[in-house]
Amino acid sequence: MRRLWILVFGLPLPASGLFAQQPPQPLTGEVRDAADRPVRGANVFLLETLEGDLTGADGTFSIETRHTGPATLVVRHLSYAEHRVDLVTPRPEPVDVSLLELVQAEAIVVTAGGYTAGDEAGAALTSLEVVTTPGTNADVAGAIKTLPGVQNVDEGNGLFVRGGDRMETKLFLDDAVVIDPLRLEEPTGSITPTVDPFLLDGIFFSSGGFGARFGNALSGIVDLQTQGRPPTRHVNLGANLAGVDASVGWPLGRDLGAHATVSRWHVGPIFSVNGSTRDYPVPPQGYDLSGSLVWSYRPDGEWKTFAIRQSTDLEVEVDEASFTGIYALDERGSIVVSSWRERFDRVLPRVSVSRSTLSRRESSGALDLESETILTQVFGEVAWSPADRFVVTAGGEIERLASDVAGRLPATASDRSAEAASIPIDVDEAGSRAGAFAEGELRLGGRARVRTGIRTDRSTHTDARSWDPRVSADVGLGGSATLLLAWGIYHQVPDPLFFEASLGDPGLPPMRSRQLVAGIQLGSPADALVRVEAYDKEYEDLALAGLDGHVVGGGEGASRGLDLFVKGPLVWGIDGRASYSLVDAERTDPDTGVRARSPNDVTHSLTVVGARPLAVGWSVRAAYRYATGRPFTDVVGATFDPEADVFVPKFGDPFVERLPDYHRLDLAASHIRQIGRWQAVFYGSLGNVFDRKNVLEFRWSEDFAERFPVRSRSKRSVFFGVSLDL
């Protein structure tokens, strides 16, 4: 019996009920944020009774409770992470609570070199801004090119970041590496979207100083996250001068959902309406098919499989000194990525498995190549937050790249005709790379954050291990000013084809860069934002392809510059943004071995975008782009080779000359209208308003005595279409 009474009075939980008739006791305290400022309007309550109080302007609270014994005090506020305190009541001494802002707890909002696009807080570009930037054809890469740090080298969607080559910027889709983000390359760049922005939930672009999580990229990264479970059913149909598309989002029950899109694009109608600067026996065309299945089984738990298949066909006439004929391209690519993320209290694991394929057939004179590339990758990471201000992340990836390339390449740059001497290519090999990283993030006093990390990679192609330490910090300077700093070492394995003995060097080491970034940001993207960053990059062990395709290792280089980004309301109700990049880049010229200007040394790049709503449902936008002409190597003479029956050019000093400066103005307008239950968006644009004849390269006469400008594909052109939400 004695044991029974011990049990009765010793039990902690029922005890509160037994003492329920005691007079209420005050439980008081104060809620402050990480910067020690009082938090107003926090909901403070006892989990056991729901008795609670809202904090006042001074952050204090007072709860009258009869509860006695162990209890949990919960503190909630929309702007802060929930906080719980275990205590015993009655408690005469006050309870002090420190809350952590959600924006600090959830994501990196601002880092040196980093920009986000999407609808989350802190995004530099909203989703709408991505799809409505004039002159980008709703292309993700096109919108990213309006951010600072990307040089306007050509009109394509390759990203030339801070003086680097486009292959130095890697594209990730749901953590999977995309084999080659550039889909359709011409001398003036490529013209089709990389990924439909409507498939995406978030975009992160870094022009440098990115963390240890991202490997095998020398200059920049683009991290794309596809959409989660659709909250509601939606059907969208679209048609424009370049094709038709349809997309469906469908919630399936409580947790499942699916997306599907199909699009067929054909540039022929655009050429028919606007004309073309060159002849296309087969105008650029193709299709995209994509789908995803999402299982959001918990708010923090999601399994998603995303698949996309894309195709491109093209035939275009080329007119070179030694060859006049057709360049033909037939490309098929696909990605399947299955990813899982979860949260177990303070531990957040994430895993993705992907398989990407790219088959490509291209021919032009002596060039005749057929390739099949398969990239299989497994990525995983675990983030652990043992304390509110500290997060440790560790993970890694293993990827296997199998390349099968067969065909021939012209033996020299001077003769590309079908009868020219050529190098046979027959490469069938596979290589793998394994990378691991660990990173720690520490918040100091609510105003500063420091991230340090290290990653290591080993590739069977280079047979060498690389070590990349990286550090970054952002420090609040008071008001809305934030100081941004980043330093790091970056390695990248050269293109697998560069290891082929007939073309390159089987002993190439991984390419290396050292980046230093320092900047300051004022304001916020939601209001007005100014960001200035200066950077310094040094390159070593670059593998560089010369004019005739041969590969030279051991290249060096450097890139220094300044990036400026301004965004906010302007005059007359116009919202605008401007990006300016100043760069001074040089690197080893593979043909002469001397250090010269980088081919991507576009000294000034400026993009200004403005948008203004007009009457109800109407809006107009404009974008102006300027870039210094890019460097090129001029031909200063030629000798006749009677054996090959061609003129062999004599080149001047490498990359001394520059193309003319680039200017372009694009205008766009859209109108939204409800038609019954449908919502229709009508849009139209006028590209290259002043029909500026921008020159993106030169071609020469057969004897190299005369030089002809190769004009940009973009004449003044109209484009229009409609999108229907059913």
Binding site: G17, L128, P613
Partner: protein, 260 residues
């Protein structure tokens, strides 16, 4: 002896556990109380009371995370708070929370009012930033469609549709004409509206108010006054009607946006 001790423990627990459980109100009682508080706070224009109702809803969903009605009323209270904000930088944050709560509620148990409120939340977002119309307009229409499918005879669905139409330009499917039609339908349905507690049962007086505002918008002052007085008959402490709308009719000041 050990068995006897165990039996003693179980007996003690059975006796005392119910006492313990009474310390926390049950979900049904909480939901009903929260709804009453939201309605009373809204009618009286009492911001502090509305904040307290929201706080109680937040507490309730903490202990009953799978209760659809509690999430619904949390979303409803946040919607009410957001609707009273004009050019307030906190409004997007409140709307984010309202959307999350309503989506959670709809995922557990889809109520017509939940989807109608979601549509109204998107409407508020578009009202604050018309550039979002392209992306949120279709979602708002979709939620409205779901609400109508789930509750074709639900007066609150028609009320929220009417309020939405009141603030939507004719070119986008709104306008006074349509708002009047929807509100008339809502008023018809309110005549037989008697849902079981704690299901949503608000909106009777509000429908009168918005019908009056449509009349006022058309310059039909007497008809507007009649509707406002009908609203006061249902909710005598309706401060917006008593202090703003009726005096506004007398002074001819028609600029008294309050809610949507």
């Amino acid at each position: 002896m050990r068995t006897k001790g165990l039996i003693s423990f179980v007996l003690a627990w059975m006796v005392l556990a119910p006492v313990r459980l009474t310390a926390q109100p049950d979900a049904t009682t909480l939901a009903d109380s929260i709804q009453r508080e939201i309605v009373a706070a809204y009618v009286r224009g009492d911001d502090a009371r509305l904040a307290a109702a929201r706080a109680l809803a937040e507490r309730a969903v903490t202990i009953y995370p799978e209760d659809a009605l509690l999430h619904h009323y949390l979303g409803f209270s946040l919607y009410r708070q957001a609707a009273l904000m004009h050019d307030d930088p906190d409004q997007p944050r409140i709307l984010d929370a309202a959307e999350a709560a309503l989506e959670r509620s709809a995922a557990i148990r889809p109520l017509p009012e939940t989807h109608a409120l979601l549509a109204s939340v998107y409407g508020l977002r578009i009202g604050a930033n018309p550039a979002l119309g392209a992306s949120l307009g279709p979602r708002s229409s979709e939620e409205r469609s779901i609400a109508e499918r789930l509750g074709p005879e639900n007066p609150r669905v028609w009320l929220l549709k009417g309020i939405g139409a009141f603030f939507t330009p004719e070119a986008f499917g709104g306008g006074l004409e349509r708002a009047g039609e929807y509100l008339d339908r809502s008023l018809e349905l309110f005549e037989d509206d008697d849902p079981e507690r704690p299901l949503p049962r608000w909106g009777g007086a509000e429908a009168r108010v918005w019908r009056g505002r449509v009349h006022e918008g058309r310059g039909q002052v007497d008809r507007a006054r009649s509707e406002y007085e009908a609203a006061l008959a249902l909710e005598p402490e309706y401060v917006w009607v008593r202090g703003v709308l009726i005096p506004g009719l007398a002074s001819g000041d028609g600029d008294h946006d309050h809610d949507r």
